[in-house]
């Protein structure tokens, strides 16, 4: 809830589109040194019945030209269990597993240049920028000795699987400066984008350090009939179950009657 004022401020400040971005630019020019302002063309992604993925435009301005920009979009954090298959009597069976906490459901980094050309790892670690430096907390039972090598392998597998599902795209060179101070990028969300609260962190990097940063919220939620079905099924599972079975019985009976003469 503490993010709500920020959301309202962001929405009020910049209604969306080019004009607000220019307003932001003008505002940023009069502000103190090293200010960064950015906003999205939309703060809400609605997953409707015919949703096929979408793009959100991010516009931003820096008051002091130069340096690089990194845009980090992260989705809601959840716990994820990674399971490893092993061959048992000729069959591939899930054996060891490792659970990680704080795993973003979606994570993408867009930059002006490849990250390793911009700053050194310590800065990236401090700010949680980039897949290699993304903090995933392995869940280890108390009193149990963590197997560092195995955990690293599970972590790698988690990222690999997420990338295959197009949930962790890394897009170096997709943030473009339109002038010395104004920049933009397109954030691409795939069809399977998870719902929840997202944060878009924009960093200005110069001389090997972060000199400006801003966070903008973004909400991905289901909308329309699909949203109502999902909500209903999860909030009132008993009623949903009764209705689902009743609908099946009714449609089966209808089909039986309809085709009686055929």
């Amino acid at each position: 809830m503490s993010r709500r004022p920020l959301l309202i401020l962001g929405a009020a400040l910049l209604g969306g589109g080019l004009l607000p971005a220019l307003a932001a630019l003008l505002w940023s020019l009069t502000a103190r040194a090293d200010t960064l302002v950015a906003d999205l063309s939309s703060h809400l992604i609605a997953i409707t019945t015919d949703f096929r993925g979408t793009e959100v435009v991010l516009f931003g301005a820096v008051d002091r030209p130069g340096g690089d920009i990194a845009v980090v979009v992260s989705g809601p954090r959840t716990e994820v269990t990674v399971r490893r298959k092993e061959r048992v009597a000729g069959i591939w069976v899930n054996r060891q597993s490792q659970t990680f906490a704080g795993v973003p459901a979606f994570y993408t980094v867009a930059t002006t240049r490849p990250l390793d050309q911009i700053v050194d790892p310590p800065v990236l670690i401090r700010h949680d920028i980039g897949l290699d430096y993304l903090v995933l907390r392995p869940v280890v039972e108390e009193g149990e000795e963590p197997d560092v090598a195995a955990i690293a392998e599970f972590r790698e597998a988690l990222i690999r699987n997420k990338q295959r599902d197009r949930l962790y795209p890394q897009r170096a060179g997709t943030v473009n400066f339109l002038g010395p101070q104004l920049f933009r990028t397109n954030i691409v969300f795939p069809t399977n984008v998870p719902v929840g609260q997202y944060f878009v962190d924009v960093y200005q990097l110069r001389d090997g350090d972060v000199v400006g940063a801003q966070t903008t919220p973004l909400v991905v939620s289901k909308a329309g009939v699909g949203a109502e079905i999902f909500e209903f099924a999860h909030r009132q599972p008993l009623a949903y179950a009764i209705l689902a079975v009743a609908a099946a019985i009714l449609s089966g009976w209808l089909a039986g009657v309809m085709f009686r003469k055929v």
Binding site: I47, T48, T49, D50, F51, R52, G75, P76, T78, E79, V80, T81, V82, R83, R84, K85, E86, G90, I91, W92, V93, N94, S97, T99, A105, F154, A157, L158, R160, N161, R164, T191, N192, P194, V195, G196, K222, V225, G226, A227, I229, F230, A233, H234, P237, Y240, A241, I242, A244, V245, A248, I249, S251, G252, W253, A255, G256, V257, F259, R260
Partner: protein, 308 residues
């Protein structure tokens, strides 16, 4: 045409699902089986999570068996007394099956168990059917006259206690046997997302000695209850019934089944059974191959707290 499935949380091509429903419906009309054993693996191949494929398929089978039973009732080929006894065992089996399903999901072995039970059941039933229909075809070719059969053979099943009279099936047997068959059927519904007709029908004919005419209608009658209980519990406890997907499958299935049942008169019994056996075996081979071949990635993910 893409349609977003609200519970499965994925987009699918609506036309593809309709066609799959139609194709499987056609085959189920042709062979007189539910077709769940084809549809559930197909949905899983498409990327629908196995739990949702199983739950949704159970819901879809409720509708399919209701319309099937209506047709059988008009012909008077349902033994309600037998159906109710089987249903008692079936409900118990379903409740237990849904519970086992949830447990396996927690320890991450549900996919393996679904695949293994499919390979096991499809392999043995398909193999038996192929051998039986092959023999029948050979017999026909040799033009050997089939000997007169007794009404039914007496076996160990007839020695069980709690005997009951089933006038419609002309049987006086223990109620334990049909209840036990129903129980196994209920387990299969919950774990495999199939009606289990391909297992129930032979069991009712060979173990109980029921007349073939009333077997299909009676097994369908009790499948309404087992699939109904399974769909209800899966939707209530695990939220794994996607009504959007069920609706698409249903529309395709109903239309397909009508064409299939009209085609069924064209083919001879043993030819139909041989074709069905080949199909069952090919699904079995595909699933078996996936179990033994090296997966693309040895690691897989399970999101523990789905973001709501």
């Amino acid at each position: 045409m893409q349609v977003y499935l609200p519970i499965a949380e994925m987009s699918v091509n609506a036309l593809l699902i309709l066609m799959m429903g139609g194709g499987v419906g056609f085959l189920s009309g042709l062979f007189g089986v539910g077709g769940g054993f084809l549809m559930t693996p197909l949905l899983i191949f498409l990327g629908v999570p196995p739990a949702i494929a199983v739950g949704t398929q159970a819901n879809q089978l409720v509708a399919a068996s209701v319309s099937g039973v209506l047709a059988h009732m008009r012909r008077g080929t349902v033994d309600f007394r037998m159906g109710f006894v089987m249903m008692a065992g079936g409900t118990l089996g379903t409740v237990l099956g849904v519970w086992i399903f949830g447990l396996l999901q927690q320890i991450g072995q549900i996919d393996l168990v679904i695949s293994l039970t499919y390979v096991l059941f499809l392999g043995s039933i398909g193999g038996l059917m192929l051998v039986e229909s092959g023999r029948a075809m050979l017999r026909r070719r040799r033009n050997a006259a089939a000997g007169r059969r007794k009404l039914h053979k007496h076996n160990w099943v007839h020695g069980l206690p709690l005997k009951m009279r089933f006038p419609k099936s002309k049987l006086y047997i223990s109620a334990v046997a049909p209840a036990a068959i129903g129980f196994v059927g209920g387990l299969l519904v919950a774990i495999m997302g199939i009606g289990g007709g391909f297992l129930l029908v032979p069991a009712m004919i060979y173990l109980l000695g029921m007349p073939t005419a009333v077997v299909a209608g009676t097994s369908l009658f009790q499948i309404i209850f087992t699939t109904g209980v399974a769909a209800f519990l899966q939707a209530w406890q695990n939220t794994t019934v996607d009504v959007m997907l069920a609706l698409l499958l249903l529309v395709g299935g109903v239309v397909g089944a009508q064409f299939g049942s009209r085609m069924s008169g064209v083919l001879r019994g043993e030819q139909v059974r041989a074709l069905l056996a080949l199909m069952v075996l090919s699904v079995c081979l595909k699933l078996g191959w996936d179990l033994v071949s090296r997966p693309v990635d040895l690691y897989s993910l399970t999101v523990l707290q789905p973001p709501l």
